[in-house]
């Protein structure tokens, strides 16, 4: 079926007349925008829980044995459950739902000029499954014997055998929660991919599609192509836990290293699954506030795809010292260091986009620029870890923790704030307060760096991971190192203290912010041609596209932007 030659009139569109109860409009809706908010708000709620966990365990690290205000004394078992679930929540129940399902749901139909996703009911089901997975995860924390404490990586035999982990219920519920989350995102991914491929507005060719849509689609494809083995592994782990099998039990013919391969074959592409959408958001914000075309758009697409493909060949760098054949380690060191090439290229292109620009340092732009500046740290520290000979020392130390927070925090927090502050006017029809936005920004950045820079030093000093009290260890417990831990914890308190500023700004602006017009940022992409906020069905008349998304500052034109749907 070819797409229509004329813009479709929506007079007969079923969405045109929304109605029904609060339940139908906000809880049982198939509207992609409502579902997007459901994912985003669920993700933000889970982020609060995950952040609270970080607060508790960092307080324990700085002041071991002291009762943590709001929690109490932290036992070793609880400590392990806190770090395990902090990681699991932030990756599976914050980064993925907010970046992929939240922004993906909101933006894809709007940016490709469609009225909704191609499978609206499947979309609703995906969210509902996701919500169930979140509830199962939360349940796992409060059952008898406590939540699972075997790290988000859940290596057996610890995770498989209740005599070792001592949290039988928590461990199984955790696995079930993760498996359900995977199914939810497999279903959701179908919508993102097929909608972007098929439901584009007339005139929108593949290279007229905004980068953020490309990144979310490639991320969805990456997810779908990589999660399978871990789905299988999760079933195998559940069987080992509950059905007496021995897939991973070395004393009965199984192999614990098999789990590691199944996990990391997914685990490594997973980090790009969340990184790519974040970089997509950053690209959208940078082009608008530099008033510039994205430098080498097609090259960026190429690096996105190259990174995605290469990400399948690096996984065992997580297993250098795990007991794999050491010759394999050499192969993976080569692939791991080579993946730095497309990523570096992406960074260079983004930086080059600033050249010749007219840069306005609005709040979204501050977040986007901070992403790039901080990502350089995350990226270069990955090199230390990919070098096998050095990873012998740095594996499972805080150097790793610092490295991945210099990528993950940027992905799950900085890029998300860039996206929220940028698309807020479209989502809610109002403007957020710029001044408070800037205060929130600087406080967050200062706090964030204060937490994680010391961790590089601690890791370099040999501080290993997932330990609830370092002060009892002769070398690691020395006062200079404990001072770094305390500094990191205090920085976290500062970081957390600034977040209410955002929350208040966010909520107040929804109800009392100055009203926003359709296109307050003067951007080109299609979502800015819909009303703020868009109605059901997004437009009365679906748009037609005549050019690419980054035609800013075109010479000879009076206006420094040129919307994609403006007739030539």
């Amino acid at each position: 079926m070819a797409h229509a030659a004329h813009p479709e009139a929506l007079a007969a569109a079923p969405h045109a007349a929304p109605g029904g109860s609060f339940f139908h409009r906000y809880l049982w809706s198939t509207d992609h925008k409502v579902i997007a908010f459901q994912y985003m708000f669920t993700g933000m709620a889970m982020a609060l829980i995950g952040a609270f966990m970080a607060y508790v365990f960092r307080m324990q690290l700085a002041f071991p044995g002291a009762a943590v205000p709001g929690f109490g004394v932290v036992s070793p078992g609880q400590y392990n459950a806190l770090v395990t679930n902090h990681g699991s929540i932030m990756i599976f129940w914050v980064a993925m739902p907010v970046l992929i399902a939240g922004f993906g749901n909101y933006l894809i139909p709007l940016m490709v000029g469609a009225d909704d996703m191609v499978f609206p009911r499947l979309n609703r089901l995906s969210y509902q499954l996701f919500l169930v997975s979140a509830l199962v995860l939360l349940a796992s924390l409060v059952v008898q014997n406590g939540g699972f404490g075997g790290a988000w990586t859940a290596y057996p035999p610890l995770s498989a055998n209740k005599n070792y982990n001592l949290t039988p219920l928590g461990s199984s519920l955790w696995v079930i929660a993760v498996a359900l989350e995977f199914v939810a995102f497999l279903l959701g991914g179908i919508n993102f991919i097929v909608t972007a491929m098929n439901a584009r507005a007339p005139g929108m060719k593949a290279f007229d599609v905004p980068i953020v849509v490309w990144t979310i689609v490639v991320a969805s494809i990456l997810f779908m192509a990589s999660v399978g083995p871990l789905m299988a592994g999760a079933v195998m782990l559940l069987f080992d836990q509950l059905a007496g099998t021995s897939f991973f039990n070395p004393f009965r013919g199984g192999d614990p290293i098999l789990w590691q391969h199944l996990f990391w074959f997914f685990g490594h592409p997973e980090v790009y699954v969340v990184l790519l959408p974040a970089m997509g958001i950053v690209a959208e914000v940078m082009t608008v506030f530099a008033r510039k075309k994205l430098f080498a758009y097609k090259t960026v697409i190429g690096t996105i795809i190259a990174t995605g493909v290469l990400s399948f060949f690096v996984w065992a760098h997580h297993q250098f010292v795990a007991g794999i054949d050491p010759r394999m380690a050499n192969v993976f060191t080569i692939t791991t260091l080579l993946i730095s090439v497309p990523i570096a290229e992406m960074c260079f292109v983004y930086i080059a986009t600033l050249y010749g620009g007219s840069i306005r340092l609005t709040v979204p732009m501050l977040w986007a620029l901070a992403f790039i500046a901080e990502f350089l740290i995350g990226g270069v520290t990955g090199i230390f870890l990919g070098a096998s000979g050095l990873d012998v020392y740095l594996h499972d130390t805080y150097f790793v923790v610092a490295h991945f927070h210099y990528t993950f925090f940027l992905i799950a927090v900085i890029a998300v704030f860039a996206g929220i502050t940028y698309w807020f006017p479209k989502m809610f029809g109002r403007l957020m307060n710029e001044k408070w936005g800037k205060i929130h920004f600087w406080g967050t950045i200062a706090g964030f760096n204060g937490v994680f820079i010391p961790l590089f030093f601690l890791g370099a000093a040999g501080e290993h991971r997932r330990i609830f009290d370092y002060t009892t260890i002769p070398e690691l417990g020395r006062p200079e190192l404990q001072a770094l831990r305390i500094f990191a914890t205090v920085s976290l308190l500062v970081l957390l203290a600034f977040q209410p500023i955002f929350l208040v700004n966010f909520v107040r602006s929804i109800f009392r912010g100055p009203r926003a017009e359709k296109n307050p940022w003067r951007a080109n992409t299609l979502e800015w041609t819909a009303a703020s906020p868009p109605p059901h069905g997004n437009w009365a008349e679906l748009p037609q596209v005549y050019r690419g998304p980054y035609e800013y500052s075109v010479p000879g034109r009076e206006s420094d932007y040129w919307p994609q749907d403006e007739k030539p």
Partner: protein, 191 residues
């Protein structure tokens, strides 16, 4: 509030949306089964003694089931042809034949497993059997899910509605068939 969108009817790639979606579903399914099978094969290679365990599988039942699934896939192909010609009720009948094939498959499997479990070859009986039940069980789950969707599509097709879905569920069913074509030699014949 209706849940149909204009987006569903578009096709910028020229491929109908439903068919495109099914292919993407298959991508993820291939990786799931791929993960199970690669793990199995690697372990099988490292455990030559598993061949003795595998000798206890019922090759005749497996072969019969292969024939059953292939026949049911044929019915699905014929159903698609009928749907293309607009013959909804005929397509529905053929789809229900496909479901029958699935039911026979699952019944035979039920007998197989009952027999094996009674003989002591349970899920916990050893490495080979763990993989056997995991792989075949995952497959059987997909057969069952496929049967449910086939019936649902048949119900619409009988009223000449949504005939394009006949092809799409057919594609899924062929995939389930193909997975079995891999499982059969790996679990039954490799002895």
């Amino acid at each position: 509030m209706s849940a149909h969108s204009i987006a569903t009817t578009r096709s910028a790639t020229g491929i109908p949306t439903g068919r495109l979606a099914v292919w993407w579903v298959l991508v993820s399914e291939i990786v799931i089964f791929g993960g199970v099978l690669v793990s199995y094969v690697m372990h099988r290679l490292g455990h030559p003694e598993w061949a003795a365990e595998a000798a206890h599988t019922n090759t005749w039942a497996g072969a019969f089931n292969t024939l059953v699934l292939l026949t049911s896939s044929l019915a699905a192909v014929l159903a698609h042809q009928a749907a293309e010609r607009g013959e909804g009720p005929k397509a529905a009948r053929l789809l229900r034949l496909t479901v029958l094939g699935g039911a026979v498959f699952l019944t035979v499997k039920g007998f197989e497993w009952t027999h094996e479990i009674q003989a002591g070859f349970t899920l916990q009986a050893g490495g080979f059997w763990s993989y056997y039940y995991l792989a075949a069980g995952l497959h059987a789950f997909h057969v069952l899910a496929g049967m449910v969707i086939l019936l649902w599509v048949a119900a619409s097709a009988a009223r000449n509605r949504h005939l394009h879905r006949v092809e799409n569920i057919g594609i899924y069913w062929h995939f389930v068939d193909i997975v079995w074509i891999f499982l059969f030699p790996l679990l039954y014949i490799a002895k």
